[in-house]
Subunit: 349 residues, 2 copies
C-alpha cells in the first residue's frame, strides 16, 4: 500500500488510512493523494502534463477540456457565490490552457431540504457569469441526496474550449529567463470566504476577486506573445501555484515580494488569522510565464485589462535544475517557499 | 415563484419550497425541477434538444459533450461500483448522441474519513472501465468536504466524444412508423442496488447490467442505418425514457410488453418490492428508434453484440400528436404509461 504523508499534518493519523480534510486543501497532502492514487491509475500523456486542463487535437482543431467540482462554504459570499465561482473557475482553467471557453456543463448534487429559492439564485448567478464570460451551458445533470448526506449544494462544471495559442501552454514550455507576471492583488477570495463563514470573529468588506480571465489572456495571445505557462491562483494561492509549476518545469524561480500587491485590509485579516497571503486562494488572479524579452509588453497588455487592476512583473525563472522557488522580501533577504503540507482554508472553492 | 408539483409526492410540503429526495428520482418531479428552474435560466438551442448530451460543430468536427454526477449508494454493488458506473454512464450518454467517447474528466468529492483503500478501489475500477470502453481520463479534480457533510464519495464524469452519425440523433428526428428496439432485459441495475443496500430484507444474486454501449450503437451506425433517436434507460427506467422521448418528439408510441425481457429473479424482486420493472433503472440498456424498414436489420445487428443479450423489437411510433405512450400486455389489453411523480429508487446512480 502506498504510504500517504499523514504524519506532517495536523489531523491525527487513524488506524486505517482515511481521507483527511487537509487532503483537499491544495497543499502537499492533496498533491500526494493525487500523485500516489489517482494519477498512477489514470496516467496518460495528456493527464501527465500536470495542468489545469487537457489540450488535444480533434478533427484538426485544438480543443481544451477541464472540470472542477465546487463545494465552497458558505454558498453565498461577498463578491460571488457557488454559481459564479463554478462558471469562472472552469472558464479560467480553460483560459490557463490558452483556450477560449465555448461550452459548459452544469451538474448539481442537491441535499434534500435545500431551498428552491437558493437554487434559483445560484442558477441565475451561473447564467449571469456565463453571459459575462461568453459561454453557454449545453448539458447538465441533477442529483438529489438524502438529508444529512450532503451540504446544501455541490456544483460541478466541465468546460470545452478552443486553444488559441500556437504552442502548448504548459509548465514544460518554461525556459530559464522567463518573466513571471501576476495579474493583480492576491488573497481576496480566501479572506472573503473566511469572513463570510459562520463563527468567524471579525468582519471585513473584502470582496472575492472571482472573475473570468480569458479577456486578459486573449490580449497576450492576440499580441503574438508566446505565452509559456499560465496558472490561476486558486487553492494554495500564489505560492503553491508557482511551486507546483517550478517542480513540473524542473526550473528554479525567484519572486520579488515587494512587487506582489496585497490590499491593506487583506493583509490585516491575514495577520489576525495567522495566514500568509501568498498561500491564500484567489479566483480571479493568475500568473503568466512569458519570454524575458516580452515581459514589459506583456505587463502593459495585462494592465490594460479591467480584470488585472494591479498587474505586476513579480519575478523570473532563474534556471538550474531542482525546481525550488525563492522569494526576496522588503529588506533584501531571500527565503525559500515550500508547499504547506495540509489545510489552510478548507472549502474555499 | 414557479410552483413545483409537491402535492402529489410522498414527501410532505414544507412552508418554504425545498428540494425533496423525489426531485432526484427521474420522474415527473425531477422533470419539473429541471424545466421550471434550470432550463429556463440556461436555455439555448443546444440545451433545448432535451437529450443526454450536446452535439456541436468545432472546427469542422462534430463533437458531443455530456456530464453526470454519481451519488449511488452503496458505492460497491453486485456487478459494479460508483467507478464503473461513472465511466459507463458518461460513455453511454455520448453513445446516445451517436458519439464515440474520446476523453473523460473525473472529479471527486470525498468526505473526510473516507478510507483511502476504497478510493483506490474506485479509481482502479474507473481505469478498468475506461480501458474497456476505449477512453482515457485527461483532466480531473479532487475536493474534500468535512465529515458529516458528504456521503463517502461522489464522482462526476464529463465526456467529450466524436459524433459518428450523419444526421443528428435526437427525439426530434423521430417520425411516425419508426421501429423501437430495446437492447436487452430490464431492471437489473436498480434491483441489484436495492439488494445491496443496507437494511433490505431480501437477497438476490442479481447483478447490475452496468456496461458501455458504444459497441452496439456503432454496429447500427456503421451499417448505415439512420438512427433517429437513442436513449439509455437509467433513472426512471424504460417507461420514463420512452415517455420523455415521446413528449419531446410530439409523437404517440405503442409498446408490446410481451417483447420486453425481464429476468425471472428481477420480476420476483419487483413483485416483492411493489415495483414495476418498466420503471426500474438500468445502466447498460438502451432504446433505439430507427426507420420502420430497418427495424429487422437493426435487431439482427444489436443481437450480434455481447452487450445486447436479449435485444428485441418492442414497439413502434404510431404517429399522431400528443406524445402519449401505450403498452399492450400479455392478454391483448392496452394501458397508457405515465411518468411516476416522485421517487422510485433513490440514489441508484
Amino acid at each position: 500500500m502506498t504510504k500517504v504523508e499523514g504524519s506532517i499534518c495536523a489531523v491525527p493519523a487513524t488506524e486505517t488510512e482515511v481521507v483527511q480534510l487537509a487532503h483537499g486543501g491544495g497543499g502537499r497532502l492533496m498533491n500526494t493523494l493525487i500523485e500516489t492514487i489517482i494519477r498512477p491509475a489514470f496516467g496518460n500523456p495528456l493527464l501527465d502534463t500536470h495542468h489545469d486542463g487537457a489540450v488535444f487535437d480533434v478533427d484538426g482543431g485544438k480543443l481544451a477540456f477541464t472540470t472542477d467540482s465546487y463545494v465552497v462554504k458558505p454558498l453565498f459570499f461577498p463578491g460571488g457565490d457557488i454559481g459564479s465561482l463554478a462558471v469562472n473557475g472552469t472558464v479560467n482553467d480553460l483560459a490557463m490552457c490558452g483556450a477560449e471557453a465555448l461550452y459548459l456543463s452544469a451538474a448539481f448534487i442537491i441535499e434534500e431540504g435545500f431551498p428552491l429559492e437558493d437554487l434559483r439564485r445560484v442558477v441565475r448567478s451561473m447564467k449571469e457569469a456565463a453571459t459575462r464570460a461568453g459561454v453557454s451551458f449545453v448539458t447538465g445533470d441533477t442529483k438529489v441526496v438524502d438529508r444529512g448526506n450532503g451540504d446544501g449544494l455541490f456544483v460541478n462544471t466541465a468546460g470545452v474550449g478552443l486553444a488559441r495559442t500556437k504552442t502548448l501552454v504548459s509548465p514544460r514550455a518554461i525556459v530559464p529567463g522567463d518573466a513571471i507576471l501576476l495579474s493583480g492583488d492576491i488573497g481576496r477570495h480566501g479572506i472573503a470566504i473566511m469572513a463570510a463563514r459562520e463563527g468567524l470573529a471579525f468582519e471585513t468588506k473584502i470582496e472575492s476577486d472571482c472573475a473570468p480571465l480569458w479577456s486578459p489572456v486573449r490580449r497576450l495571445v492576440e499580441a503574438g506573445i508566446e505565452v509559456h505557462c499560465l496558472r490561476d491562483l486558486t487553492r494554495g494561492g500564489l505560492a503553491s501555484a508557482v511551486i507546483e509549476i517550478a517542480e513540473a518545469a524542473g526550473c528554479a524561480m525567484m519572486l520579488d515580494e515587494t512587487a506582489i500587491a496585497v490590499q491593506a485590509d487583506v493583509r490585516a485579516a491575514c495577520e489576525l488569522l495567522g495566514l500568509d497571503p501568498l498561500y491564500v486562494a484567489n479566483e480571479g488572479r493568475f500568473v503568466a510565464f512569458v519570454p524575458a524579452a516580452d515581459g514589459e509588453e506583456a505587463l502593459k497588455l495585462l494592465s490594460g485589462d479591467p480584470a488585472c487592476p494591479d498587474a505586476a512583473l513579480i519575478g523570473h525563472v532563474s534556471g538550474g535544475a531542482g525546481g525550488g522557488v525563492g522569494i526576496r522580501g522588503a529588506y533584501g533577504t531571500s527565503r525559500r517557499l515550500s508547499m504547506f503540507s495540509g489545510e489552510q482554508l478548507p472549502r474555499i472553492c
